[in-house]
Symmetry: C2
Subunit: 201 residues, 2 copies
Amino acid sequence: MAAAAETLRDEKFNARRIELAEAALETLGELGFARTSLREIAQNSAFTHGVFHYYFSDKLDLICCCVRHYKAKCVTRYDEVVASAQDREQLMEGFLAKLAATLKTEAHMHRLWYDLRSQAMFEAAFRKDVLEIDKSLEAMIWRIASRYAELGNKRPASSPAALYALFDGLFQSALLRHLADDEKAIPDLLDEVRRLLPTIC
Amino acid sequence: MAAAAETLRDEKFNARRIELAEAALETLGELGFARTSLREIAQNSAFTHGVFHYYFSDKLDLICCCVRHYKAKCVTRYDEVVASAQDREQLMEGFLAKLAATLKTEAHMHRLWYDLRSQAMFEAAFRKDVLEIDKSLEAMIWRIASRYAELGNKRPASSPAALYALFDGLFQSALLRHLADDEKAIPDLLDEVRRLLPTIC
DNA sequence: CAGCCGTCTTGACGGTTGTCCAAATTTCTT
DNA sequence: AAGAAATTTGGACAACCGTCAAGACGGCTG
């Protein structure tokens, strides 16, 4: 059957794309979008630069795939905490622990995301994906906040958009400080969230 | 007197730097930091590319000067409103009007700022300036908020950092949507601020 | 007026980039 | 197993980049 064979091929093709994207994320996170060339990505990986051009029409296509792939995992980070927390404090501490951990260990990936989002302001080709990822992150924050409110028999006193803007702003600032070797960046972020969340939800 | 002559020369030198920086801002805002070459900046201006190298040690030096210069004006944008507003509503409406205006007419400059701030996460040379500008923007927001609270005989129920994070997050999101031709970007921002500010201050 | 110094122009240099392609290799189909 | 298709390779290409330097210009000083 032709259709089945085609689907299989497509799946294999896509699996290879993701394999390449994961290899590329390494270098991209190190240098950022602008400074990274396809050749450099290839050299830091087990692939040749021609393969990347075979699987991706473009450098833009590649980085879109990279960040989409990473962020798809990202948005599930707190799901287990939200599902298992039985009171407000458990949720708060579980959230803060994950937040601090990802800020520390995945700083390079996070800065790549902010890089891409800024580039989307200049490059229209990025906008659709960026806006979509932004929406999914907003939903992620909203799941945490509304569950936190629910555990206190309350309702979040803010729109999803405003809440996401707040957390995103705080996270971005903390990330920059952390990358600038500011030891207090993470503790300050945690303190701020610990104070803010109960007043909003 | 040698010292006076030297000071004069220095001032002239600095004035020229700013002149060049302003010319460069045009192109930088159009294309972003990464995509803009010194040659392109020169071609879109009345200067040759050599002059830029004469006045700036570096491309990094140039863009730092550009954004510093622009942001120095930026932080005074709301001062007159804050000084002249006689009640909460005047302050609110004055603030919102300026906010909407700058988002619309200076969108290119604002995206350049976000571009630079993202690059600072990768390029250490940018960090000092970026952190400094961020502080001055935080102070700008704080002046507005604390005056708004004062006019209602209240105190802001938030730290300067958290408040800035919130407004920065909202502004950034609105800017991206505005650049993506979302007609509702600006109205949505205004609505959000109109609702948020009274609850915080 | 002659010479100097700060300013500016112009072109060249080495290196890097994205892109493309023809050939080699692997995988799949029949 | 043999031929076709898909995949991979690695080099060639033109365009572009930041940097630099040798010299031209022009006003000021002595």
